[in-house]
């Protein structure tokens, strides 16, 4: 079970009225390398991974949901006061037709989130390499989004999220090293 804390992991401030940025940020909400995909991937893989690394997948998977909330907050702040006309100018007319001003799990190009974005191979080495790749792709995506805005406040939150991807990738690499070792020691000293 989970315990919910009613606050964000890191503050989100949006200082510029720029609904177009919401269209780009949604990639990290419902995209292939987004936070939803990450959370669901790790929290599902953990059942068939050796005990030593279950906790890591639980912790990181949980943190990804905290990141998902931050992205949702950014998107909401960027779009909540936009008129239909402003959404149209931001390239969000199609989104508005289907979802109004609600958020939805799709990528920047409007493709809905799909479980085909994630995998659970049941092989600990294969699964962890997928996780490392996912973190590095998410880091690159954050870099692309940071490049597309000059809002320093939103850049600040995105830089925090980018750094977390870097740390997570290292933790997964460490997990691979742990799994390369023999699990049940039968050495005699």
């Amino acid at each position: 079970m989970w315990i919910y804390e009613k606050k964000l992991q890191y503050p989100v401030r949006v200082s510029k009225c720029d609904p177009r940025l919401a269209k780009f940020l949604i990639e990290q909400y419902g995209g292939a390398d987004g936070e939803l995909a990450a959370a669901l991937r790790y929290l599902n893989q953990r059942y068939t991974i050796p005990d030593k690394v279950i906790g890591l997948l639980t912790d990181i998977g949980t943190e990804e949901f905290a990141h998902l909330e931050m992205i949702a907050t950014m998107v909401y702040k960027l779009t909540k006061d936009a008129t239909p006309e402003q959404l149209k100018q931001a390239g969000l007319a199609e989104h508005y037709v289907d979802h109004g001003s609600a958020l939805f799990y799709h990528n920047a190009a409007g493709n809905p989130w799909t479980a085909t974005y994630i995998q659970a191979k049941g092989d600990p080495i294969a699964d962890l390499y997928e996780d490392i790749a996912a973190e590095e792709k998410a880091r690159a995506t954050y870099e692309h989004i940071i490049n597309l805005t000059d809002d320093v406040d939103i850049q600040d939150s995105l830089k925090f999220l980018r750094e977390r991807e870097i740390v997570h990738a290292l933790r997964f690499r460490e997990a691979v090293e742990m799994l390369k070792e023999y699990q049940t020691e039968k050495k005699a000293f």
Partner: protein, 72 residues
Amino acid sequence: MDSQWRPFDTYHSPFDPCPPKPKSYIVPPNQFIVFQAKGMKQFAPQEALKRGTLWPDLYSPYEAMPQGGARS
């Protein structure tokens, strides 16, 4: 069991419906060779073609699991 295999224990509750099954995964030698060194020992050409690699240090044998059973 081959040295590339890693058996591991999982928690088995007295209330679990099925008897516990041994679990393991394979760690192929590529995981330990980050960058291949020059002059590594080689298989004879015919042997290399059959095994899929020229280098014994990179060879990972894989046998099918016994039917209906787990690797022990």
